[in-house]
């Protein structure tokens, strides 16, 4: 805190006179903010908690009383950094006691004495300032110390890698993987009693796992071909040698880092089944630090290039490890690896190490200082910066941004969003706020809430289109939101954040197209031109959606017509059309392109192959005891790009391949089919004609 900057005090009292008495007493020495009830106080705190040095709080107030403010300050952990002095005429002992229990620092009874108020304010500020200074001092020291030792280790391990002929990133990778596996393990079980500090220590020490290789002849280390039996025996000594080097350190023997590094060096080639070296330890006799580093070491060795082998793919490496082809590991750890398959790939390669380290450091210094997790001043500052960034971006866009917390129930809207909708930026207890439900229907609120709660931490996103009313208009909007789940083993719903986009124009255009769409009188499906228009609109409006086009042709339709007559043929067409509509969602597009040719355009986000298989089987049916089958060619926007032409051309090629393959089947387009069409003269001619239309 700068000296020339006045400390900021928030005065909360519903009586203007009481506030101004306090203002007069304090305005010379402090920056003052005022709130006239609890709700306003919470709203100010949510924006300025980091800058505030003190809150002077009345108890009896309308809307939300002083206890409510203290509750909110506890829930948001503001109370840990912002002291509160209660000033109230409430002086019954249970009220005073309740205020203290909720974290109030001091209590001044009315009528108050100017000197006493000034003195107590000063005392409280001094006390907190001292505590804050101490916290940031310790944090700086812890941070600086860790940073320097990490730096030393980075340099030394790089020198070692240089000699070992390794990629230069092996040690970094092993450290990242170790960190990730341990974090997962800690979340999974408390069997090993791991703390954040342990994880940081083991990850740091993991850098030393191969120091014993210094003592191995360079010719063996970098031999490009397979090692002989004797050479391999020499190579195997590196783990015991490394441990020995540490055991003989003349100093620091009592340091935990040295002890953990010893475990890792000596036992990172042990196997869970007892068949490793040098000591043949089995199961959890092997320290968990060494078990984790062993797994990380093997994984990175597999996925990296070596003089004697090419790199294996991530999937291949995981498969080999799980199948026991590269050693025997703790089943718990294998689970940790499999559960984190995606993060594993990125953890290895991305330069996340610095970020991980900073995160760890923050939590460690917090652990040290508070004995439990909590937001330190540094974290609060980071959050504050994050908040500033968000509100800056929010101020630049028309999109409405919102955040919802479940407890206390509260919605925060971006400033522009709130203004646009004519709502407050902060809405406490929104379920009982009539103004919200003037803007949106209560059943929209309920449905979005239900879907959010039904979502999972892995798949938290919910999209919902609805009409909003404001400024005397009703406009269509799309709510895109994601649920926030707690990190507990049993994740708890904590709230959601999201945006509300105006999709009115597109929505109306779609509706208009729907009405204008030229329909085929026989099947009720839209024709090719209308379908094309709609497809293009959908694709231009998609926010990264996946689209597929399936072209469908009834097998031997000419024969059906010739043999059973046109009446029967029409019936087949109608049934197929009905089956098409029933196989897809109402937002997907079904079209009769002409004759016996149909197509379906659909948006998907999960397993498209399953969807296509299901649709295909729905479209092969029996009509008056005659089996009807179709051929189908499918093109995915991912492969072809999102344009009508490219999708249609590719689906056509795939359809042609399906027919040539004997009909009654479906094919996905792949580029190898590309030349197939061009090789067929009449198809090519037809295509060119179509292109010209």
């Amino acid at each position: 805190m700068q000296k020339d900057q006045k400390e900021k005090i928030l005065i909360v009292d519903d009586s203007e006179m009481n506030r101004s008495i306090l203002v007069d007493m304090l305005c010379d020495d402090y920056d003052l903010m005022e709130a006239e009830d609890g709700v306003e106080a919470v709203s100010i705190l949510s924006k300025h908690a980091v800058e505030l040095s003190l809150v002077l709080l009345d108890i009896v107030m309308p809307k939300m009383n002083g206890f409510g403010v203290l509750d909110a300050m506890n829930q948001n952990r503001w109370i840990e950094d912002v002291p509160v002095i209660i000033i109230s005429a409430e002086n019954s002992s249970d009220q005073v006691e309740r205020a203290y229990e909720l974290g109030a620092t001091d209590f001044i009874a009315r009528p108050f004495d100017a000197l006493i108020v000034q003195r107590r304010v000063v005392n409280t500020l001094l006390l907190y300032a001292k505590q804050k200074r101490l916290i940031s001092m310790v944090e700086e020291q812890v941070y600086e110390k860790e940073r320097q030792s990490d730096l030393m280790i980075d340099i030394l391990s790089h020198i070692m890698e240089f000699r070992n002929g390794e990629s230069g990133l092996h040690i970094l990778h092993v450290r990242n993987l170790t960190d990730m596996l341990l974090s997962r393990l800690m979340a999974k079980t408390d069997k090993y009693g791991l703390t954040m500090a342990d994880i940081s220590l083991i990850s740091t020490a993991s850098a030393l796992h191969d120091i014993g290789k210094m003592a191995i002849d360079e010719k063996i280390l970098n031999k490009p071909s397979r090692l002989t039996k004797e050479e391999f025996e020499i190579m195997k000594t590196h783990s015991a040698i490394g441990a020995d080097m540490l055991a003989k350190l003349p100093v620091h023997q009592q340091e935990r880092l040295v002890k953990v590094a010893y475990e890792i060096c000596r036992w990172h080639h042990e196997r869970y089944d007892g068949k490793g070296y040098p000591d043949g330890l089995k199961g959890d006799d092997i320290p968990i630090s060494a078990q984790v580093v062993a797994l990380a070491d093997v994984y990175d060795a597999l996925t990296s290039e070596r003089v004697y082998k090419p790199p294996f793919s991530h999937e291949e490496a995981v498969r080999m490890i799980v199948n026991g082809e590269c050693g025997a590991f703790n089943p718990f750890l294998l689970e940790c690896m499999e559960e984190n398959v995606d993060r594993l790939r990125t953890a290895r390669d991305e330069g996340i190490v610095e970020e991980v380290r900073q995160r760890k450091l923050r939590s460690i210094s917090e652990e040290t200082l508070r004995g439990e997790g909590g937001a330190s001043r540094r974290t609060l500052q980071l959050l504050e910066r994050e908040r500033m960034r968000n509100s800056f971006f929010a101020s630049l866009t028309e999109t409405i941004q919102f955040e919802y917390t479940d407890s206390p129930s509260m919605i925060t809207l971006s400033a522009r969003g709130a203004k646009k909708l004519g709502l407050d930026e902060i809405i406490m207890d929104p379920r009982h706020n009539e103004k919200i439900f003037e803007v949106l229907d209560r059943n929209v609120w309920n449905e979005v809430g239900r879907r959010l709660r039904a979502s999972t931490p892995e798949n938290p996103e919910v999209r919902f289109d609805c009409a909003l009313r404001y400024d005397g208009m009703t406009r269509w909007h799309r709510i895109v939101t994601r649920a926030l789940w707690s990190e507990d083993t049993e994740p708890k719903f904590e709230g959601a954040l999201g945006i509300v986009m105006d999709i009115h124009d597109t929505h109306m255009k779609l509706q208009e197209l729907e009405q204008k769409a030229a329909r085929d009188p026989l099947t009720g499906l839209i024709n090719r031109a209308s379908a094309r228009e709609r497809m293009e609109l959908r694709m231009s409006d998609s926010s990264g959606g996946h689209f597929a086009l399936a072209e469908i042709d009834i097998d031997d339709f000419k024969v059906i017509n010739d043999v059973y007559g046109h009446m029967f043929g029409d019936k087949v067409l109608q049934q197929l059309a009905r089956r098409m509509k029933n196989s897809v969602r109402s937002t997907d597009i079904c079209c009769r392109a002409g004759g016996e040719e149909f197509f379906i355009f659909l948006e998907y986000n999960t397993d498209i192959e399953k969807t296509i298989d299901r649709i295909f089987h729905n479209l092969c049916f029996t009509c008056d005891r005659h089996a009807v089958s179709v051929s189908m060619g499918v093109a995915l926007g991912e492969t072809t790009g999102l344009s009508y032409e490219s999708l249609y051309y590719a689906a056509d090629a795939a359809l042609y391949a399906a027919k040539r393959g004997g009909k009654h089947q479906y094919r996905f387009y792949n580029p190898s089919l590309h030349n197939l069409l061009d090789a067929v003269p009449e198809k090519k001619a037809g295509r060119e004609k179509e292109d010209k239309q």
Partner: protein, 117 residues
């Protein structure tokens, strides 16, 4: 008329107030400000319409201000009314009548003082 006389006229404790707020200028400012405060009107309105909770808060605010300004008499009667309303009593007419009397005395004394400065 001095501020002290004004206090004597309403039966309030001048020396206590000046002892705590420590400035005649400030005390005078707040005493005059008391005339503008809407809590008494709010009290009358909410008692009339039977909104007990609102009435409680208004009485409570009056009590707090009177304590701060050492308006001892009005502080006592508004405090009695506050406690009755807090306890949810509905028969508060007598208590309110006392508050009304004290409030009018207080306000009259302040107005007389204001007229002379």
């Amino acid at each position: 008329m001095t501020l002290q006389t004004c206090y004597e006229n309403m039966g309030a404790n001048y020396s206590d107030a000046i002892g705590r707020l420590r400035s005649e200028r400030l005390l005078q400012k707040f005493v005059l400000k008391f005339l503008d405060d809407g809590s008494y009107d709010l009290l009358c309105r909410s008692l009339e319409s039977g909104e007990t909770e609102e009435a409680f808060r208004a009485a409570h605010t009056i009590k707090g201000m009177c304590q701060n300004l050492s308006f001892t008499v009005l502080a006592a009667s508004s405090s009695a009314l506050t406690e009755a309303l807090r306890a949810g009593q509905t028969e508060t007419d007598a208590l309110f009548a006392k508050v009304k009397e004290d409030y009018e005395n207080t306000v009259n004394a302040i107005r007389a003082f204001q007229a002379e400065i």
